[in-house]
């Protein structure tokens, strides 16, 4: 099995893979050992792919050349594979194991007579894996890892469903989902661009290459992407790229604000706001941007004309824009967090975090939760719906210095003043996955679309590759600036890192950092004016409501647990419920004898009212688990302490408490 660990086979393998996937014809490879090696050579992203390859070649073998002597080691290698497991792709491995088993038995398969509709349906439901006898469509199977990448989670098996009709319906539904996954995975082959790379020769390291060297060895267009803007006068700068990566906004502390199309180097506007500028941020389109100035936040258009002065946003230090929610999230010097809906100009939520000055803020792009870093080494996560942090993570023993979350919302990098850098799993809120000790304090962190991490330390920028899954020993690239770094950001859809510093702006070429293929319906660097207008309208129409900002954004597609039967039963219970008896004697106003009709009536009315109120209180507490008034109190309490989820907006609104 030493062969398996040899990475040099990688090249051979990738060629195999290409023709296998690309040409649509099965390459004939006789040796199993090569096939197995194919999987191992690949980098981590493609780990899951090894089994299907094996399966594919095994299939060839099992059918054609059983008699070949080389294949004696066949079964042994399968066993070896079985023992090898990684937790991440566990399910896919298990699945493919089953398929291998199926294939081994299937060789004996003989076509049987018609067994009715049910059999056909079953066959349809599990139709993703092409059986060798099913040669009607000659589509090449999609590698498992690609399927796993596009997967929307495990489907429903339909075990608990009693009726045949609904079971079939569910199977059909699942088959549809699987089909869509397969189509999405299959469409990857159509992507026109490939990502950039930088490979060092024998005896060289990628770290040693300077920007000048890189720029001189790439084409002219790419070379223009490395440039410096020397702006010494207006002091420490901050920068921001627009969402499609085409436009750049810089703001100097001493009031200089400029917006430009950095690819063509065309200036959109340049103004001096005559006030201190703390942060700049593009809004949903490149015609508007927000600037956090000395006192308030201002919104300018791309001509530099002031559109709004938002006085509710006071002494803002950091701004982040949530493009799908149309929210401008800001953190202020006085500890206030606020979310401003810029489509309707309404303040969605504004409250004091009671965490002091908020000078570290970042956005989790996966769930739109705002993350703040604090001087106690804590990272807190906030949604506009809850005035308490959704989570608090103690990340360091020392004050935090910088904070970044990757584009898939999987990893969080934090750096503290003790020169440590830690990588956390942000979905599970666990970690640290990795822990590094840096040469200097990391004052800035930035993740690229493809997972590269840029670390700004004083006036040095270091870029690391694959530092989240496994420990990285040396930086991928390094660059030294003249002055201290203000902030930095990887340009979306480009191999570029923009760095704003005390002395202006520098654009660095980082090969392999940007996503090579954009989706024009999400963000398009080549957008025309009419396309921009259309997409603006569309995105406004599908604006996500701020109530949906939670730690898990997929809750809305989950199945709501309380079953129908429970609900119906609970309702029935409410209907035939006996309220606790009350001992009630109405006042004898008239002075007549007791036991008159009037008294009885009053009694009845009071009892009825009490019953109604009783039922109502039960209803308010939630129908599910109520049986007695003692229970309701406890249940209502437990409801209160549940974490806020997206589905909570459907609950009946609580009445405002008096006073």
């Amino acid at each position: 099995m030493d062969l398996l660990h040899d990475r040099r086979i990688f090249a051979v393998v990738s060629i195999c893979y290409m023709c296998f996937f690309g040409a649509g014809e099965a390459p004939y490879v006789s040796s199993v050992s090569v096939c197995i090696a194919t999987g191992y050579g690949l980098d981590d992203r493609r780990v899951g792919f090894r089994i299907p390859m094996t399966r594919y070649f095994l299939k060839q073998e099992s059918q054609k050349d059983k008699q070949k002597p080389q294949n004696k080691g066949n079964e042994g290698s399968i066993k070896e594979l079985r023992t090898f497991k990684r937790p991440k792709y566990k399910s896919s491995i298990e699945k493919s194991q089953k398929e291998i088993d199926a294939l081994v038995t299937v060789v004996k398969y003989k076509r049987k007579a018609w067994r009715g509709r049910k059999y056909e349906d079953d066959k349809l439901a599990g139709a993703r894996v092409q059986a060798p006898w099913n040669r009607k469509s000659k589509r090449v199977p999609v590698p498992e890892d690609k399927l796993a990448h596009h997967s929307r989670g495990e489907g429903l098996s339909g075990d608990g469903i009693k009726t045949d009709f609904h079971q079939k319906k569910l199977k059909k539904h699942e088959a549809n989902i699987e089909f869509s996954i397969e189509q999405a995975a299959r469409a990857e082959i159509l992507l026109p661009e490939e990502s950039g790379f930088l490979l060092a020769d024998e005896g060289e390291l990628t770290t040693q290459f300077t920007q000048q060297q890189i720029a001189s060895s790439v084409d002219i267009t790419s070379a223009t992407k490395h440039f410096d803007l020397h702006l010494a006068e207006f002091g420490p700068y901050r920068m921001n790229y627009s969402r499609n990566g085409r436009f750049l906004l810089i703001g100097g502390r001493r009031g200089h604000v400029a917006a430009m199309d950095w690819v063509t180097k065309k200036l959109l506007c340049e103004v001096n706001v005559m006030e201190a500028v703390y942060d700049v941020q593009w809004l949903h389109v490149e015609t508007m941007f927000a600037v956090a100035q000395k006192q308030w936040v201002y919104v300018y258009d791309n001509q530099g004309i002031e559109l709004h002065c938002i006085k509710k946003l006071n002494k803002i230090l950091h701004m982040e824009f949530l493009p799908y929610h149309f929210l401008l999230a800001t953190a202020s010097e006085e500890g206030y967090l606020s979310w401003l809906d810029i489509s309707i100009g309404k303040m969605v939520s504004q409250f004091n975090t009671r965490m002091g000055r908020l000078n570290l803020m970042t956005l989790n792009p996966y769930n739109a939760v705002v993350c703040l870093g604090h001087s106690k080494g804590i990272v807190t996560m906030w949604s506009p719906n809850v005035k308490e942090p959704l989570s608090k993570m103690l990340c360091h023993q020392h004050p935090l210095q910088s904070l970044a979350i990757d584009s898939q919302g999987q990893y969080m990098a934090t750096a503290a003043v003790d020169r440590t850098l830690k990588i956390w799993d942000v979905r599970k809120l666990e970690g640290p996955l990795q822990q590094y000790k840096l040469h200097a304090v990391a004052s800035n962190l930035a993740f690229s679309q493809r997972g590269l991490l840029a670390i700004g330390m004083g006036n040095v920028v270091e870029v690391y590759r694959d530092c989240c899954q496994r420990p990285a020993d040396r930086p991928y690239l390094r660059h030294r600036l003249f002055k201290r770094i203000g902030n930095m950001q990887f340009c979306p859809y480009e191999d570029v890192l923009g760095v704003a510093s005390d002395s202006g702006f520098t654009s660095l070429i980082i090969p392999g950092s940007g996503e090579p293929n954009f989706d024009a319906l999400e963000s398009n660097p080549f957008q025309s004016k009419s396309q921009r207008r259309e997409s603006e309208v569309k995105s406004l129409l599908e604006k996500i409501q701020p109530e949906f900002i939670t730690l898990d954004p997929t809750v809305i597609t989950d199945v709501h647990i309380p079953t129908l039967r429970d609900k119906v039963e609970a309702k029935k219970k409410l209907l035939f419920l006996k309220p606790p008896k009350i001992d009630f004697q109405p006042r004898n106003k008239s002075g007549k004898k007791k036991g008159t009709v009037k008294v009885a009536q009053t009694k009845r009315i009071v009892r009825e009212e009490q019953r109604r109120e009783f039922v109502k209180t039960l209803k308010d507490a939630g129908i599910g688990e109520i049986t007695s008034p003692q229970n309701t109190e406890s249940s209502s309490v437990s409801v209160k302490h549940k974490p806020f989820t997206a589905l909570d907006r459907f609950k009946p609104k609580k009445k405002k408490e008096e006073g």
């Binding site: 084409d219 599908e542 996500i544």
Partner: protein, 445 residues
């Protein structure tokens, strides 16, 4: 050193000329499409709201009858033609696309009770209160010709309804008796009787063509076979059924509109209990017609509103009403599955869209895909409380609203009473009776 930096050739991404369409490269990478579920949910919410915005089902009004409209005739081939009869014995033929009356004549003295087309569509039969059955040509009479029936049959008893056989030259009438006539004979070829004094609706099965069903005033529904001598079976319900309609796709299923505000779908093979009870009307239901797909039907009644039910669902998917529409006497679902017609007491015939939010006219492919997409979204998120609430919401007339409220209270009260009775009596003495069984008295053979 080997280096490659992302560098896109703008020629691949920009359109060549201004007349070209924009290039839209796609990438289905999940990380480029965040908030998938939430965005889909928002789209579904918008789609369902837009559906309610576009729900304008009223198409037009056919005005011309001098008295209340009593019955419709559905042409088997032509979509644009409608025949209607009224209380004053007048029959009108309408051109539906132009919403105009093309021909009218006085067919009977008193009510026109029923109209039925012959299978070839060249002629139609009308029956009236004057005990006559008349056959008319569909086409206009030639210039100078009189408006005359091609054939007249005189019945000995009162006639309340007529239905034509799907294939053969044979039709059935009902009244005191159920009679089967042949077109070229002046006497009925067959007469059925089952101790009933009057039948008020009769209907031939469109698939199992010899099967005939009639609603009787003794609260029963009777099934006949025209090849047989006597009736086959009948089912007696608690209140009488007003109108009956066969499912055009499933031979053994029919639905009847009942006086007790409900509609009942029966399987002819098992009349002991209906397949489904369709509840939503708040007054007696007097008219029903199936869609040609057999998946939906429309009903109208004394609550001055139309309701559209899906086959197999107990509650309606839509209600149509206008302020001026009075009690409905007849409804018709057009053969292209797109329109609904209703005739009412106040002399008007109204035309509605079958799906209220549907766009009429030709759809462009992009429109079609967008609609399909929003349909799929609505299905996916249909059970979310917000979305289902909006999709379900209908503005109903005040009288319907109050009647619904009243009926709800009545039902609740009955339920509670039954539950109390059950709780306080010996176990087993007060059995649970399903809604389906409640309304059936017995089945007779």
């Amino acid at each position: 050193m080997k280096v490659k930096v992302l560098c896109r050739n703008p020629d691949y991404y920009l359109r060549e000329t201004k007349r070209d369409i924009y290039k839209v490269p796609r990438n289905y990478e999940p990380s480029l499409h965040p908030f998938e579920g939430l965005r889909e949910y928002t789209r579904a919410l918008n789609a369902v709201k837009l559906e309610r915005v576009f729900a304008k089902p009223f198409v037009g009004n056919l005005d011309g009858h001098q008295d209340g409209v009593s019955c419709f005739g559905k042409h088997p081939q032509r979509l644009s033609l409608l025949v209607s009869g009224s209380y004053d014995g007048e029959v009108r033929l309408w051109d539906l696309p132009q919403q105009k009356c093309v021909r009218n004549f006085r067919a009977h003295d008193g009510f026109v009770r029923g109209i039925a087309f012959l299978p070839d569509g060249q002629q139609f039969v009308t029956v009236g209160d004057d005990k006559t059955i008349k056959m008319w040509k569909t086409d206009l009479p030639d210039w100078g010709e009189e408006e005359e029936p091609t054939n007249t049959y005189i019945s000995k008893s009162v006639i309340m309804g007529v239905s034509h056989h799907q294939k053969e030259p044979m039709f059935a009438t009902c009244g005191e008796l159920c009679q089967v006539w042949e077109e070229d004979r002046n006497e009925p070829i067959r007469t059925f009787q089952w101790g009933v004094d009057s039948l008020h609706d009769v209907s031939f099965n469109p698939i199992e063509t010899n099967l005939l069903a009639a609603c009787a005033s003794d609260r029963s529904i009777i099934l006949y076979d025209t090849r047989d001598i006597g009736p086959i079976r009948k089912v007696i319900m608690t209140l009488r059924s007003n109108r009956l309609c066969w499912n055009p796709m499933e031979a053994f299923i029919f639905t009847c509109a009942n006086e007790d505000y409900n509609l009942y779908t029966f399987d002819t093979r098992k009349l002991k209990q209906p397949l489904q009870v369709h509840m939503d009307h708040v007054s007696a239901v007097t008219a029903i017609d199936y869609a040609p797909t057999g998946k939906e039907f429309v009903s109208g009644g004394y609550d001055k509103s139309l309701r559209i039910f899906e086959h197999g669902k107990s509650h309606s998917r839509d209600i149509y009403h206008t302020k001026r529409m009075q009690r409905l006497t007849c409804v018709l679902w057009s053969m292209d599955n797109k329109y609904i017609l209703c005739g009412s007491d106040e002399m008007n015939i109204r035309m509605w869209k079958a799906r209220s939010a549907e766009k009429l006219g030709v759809l462009r492919p992009r429109e079609k895909t967008a609609l399909n997409y929003s349909e799929a979204l609505k299905r996916k998120f249909g059970s979310h409380p917000q979305i289902s609430r909006i999709a379900r919401h209908r503005q109903v007339p005040k009288h319907v609203y109050h009647a619904q409220k009243e009926l709800r209270t009545i039902k609740l009260k009955q339920k509670r009473k039954e539950a109390n009775r059950r709780a306080h009596s010996k176990p087993g003495t007060v059995p649970f009776l399903s809604e389906k069984k409640k309304h059936i008295v017995e089945e007779q053979e």
